[in-house]
Amino acid sequence: MHEMSIANSILEAVQKEARRYPGSRATKVAVRIGELAALDGESLRFCFEVLAGEMELKDLELEIEWCPRRHRCARCDRTFVVRDYEFRCPTCQELAPECVSGDELELAYVEVEHDEPSAVGKESS
């Protein structure tokens, strides 16, 4: 439900970044989203496309990297991906409640290219 405001924040960050490169335009933005971030990818893409069109960024591609929930074992220091809420360390079977990633909601990078009159923008995926 809050995908619209998330999409808006992503696009604002892209606009801000693009202003640092006069004569260029942003073609792609990559974000990292954790499985605990409570975001729906389809919905985010939809909102992103609608808003990007309104903000004259309509050919901007959105890449989403999904980040699984990872816990760290205090005993053996191993970091492992948690599936089905199984918090036991696969190595030493210790219960490892310390969550080290999985709630990311981060901008990774923006790709910009020099604007040429003949350039054809990429389709959003």
Binding site: M1, H2, S5, T27, L39, D103, E106, Y109, E111
Partner: protein, 226 residues
């Protein structure tokens, strides 16, 4: 083509405002909690019973969020503490800017506890830091025991789960142990209190949790302020 690394949070503006709120709360010794639940699970009633139980003269205030209406603020104002309604006009969550704006004419030195009642929604409020010391999730026994598994984000980020409406347990097919087990599957260190605002069972445990958590918050204050 030029790839520019950004390496920052999508909600960095909200996070920046929330960090500044958190610092202000710490400076003024205000213990702020953010109550989150689906609509109708009893956040406002829990706050009514809480305000009713507090001694007159307690330095407590409430910000209550809804998409429309001032109904909750009207209910909560009856207890004589400062209460403000935040009407989001369609937005499904509160954000740090709304909190900052609505705090503008309150003097934080006059407060010990600030309750924020978020918009009824188990999803979106979990993404928005409001500068609170603790998130609290309320789950009522008229919902499903599997809510923590379906909406893990908010259960993962909350320190306390208030299991509400427990007076209805004899009348509904709700397995309270299973609900608590599910909450701890998502968040192994989750603290839990069972409360009925009708019979008032569990209210003392809830008030004790608040007081103990506030004491812990004040004790850690000097470290955090550095």
């Amino acid at each position: 083509m030029n790839r520019v690394p950004l390496e920052k949070k999508v909600l960095s503006e909200n996070d920046r405002l929330a960090a500044s709120l958190r610092e202000r709360f710490q400076q003024h010794g205000v213990f702020c909690v953010n109550l989150i639940s689906s609509p109708g699970s009893g956040k406002t009633t829990l706050l009514e019973r809480t305000l009713e139980a507090l001694p007159r003269g307690s330095r407590v205030a409430v910000l209550t969020g809804d998409i429309q209406t001032e109904n909750d603020a009207a209910r909560l104002k009856r207890f004589g503490f400062p209460v403000k309604q935040i009407t989001t006009g369609g937005t499904c969550h509160l954000d740090a800017r709304m909190i900052e704006r609505h705090l503008a004419d309150w003097n934080l030195d006059d407060l010990d506890i600030l309750f924020i009642e978020n918009v009824g929604n188990l999803v979106c409020p979990s993404s928005y830091d409001l500068g609170e010391a603790a998130k609290i999730v309320v789950l009522s026994v008229t919902e499903g025991e599997d809510k923590p598994l379906k909406y893990p984000s908010i259960f993962f980020k909350s320190e306390l789960m208030v299991l509400s409406k427990i007076d209805l347990l004899p009348h509904v097919p709700f397995d309270a142990h299973l609900a608590e087990e599910n909450a701890r599957r998502v968040h192994p260190e989750m603290e839990i209190v069972r409360v009925s605002c009708m019979t008032r069972i569990g209210l003392a445990a809830w008030l004790t949790w608040l007081e103990q958590r506030r004491t812990a918050y004040l004790a850690q204050k000097p470290e955090v302020v550095i």
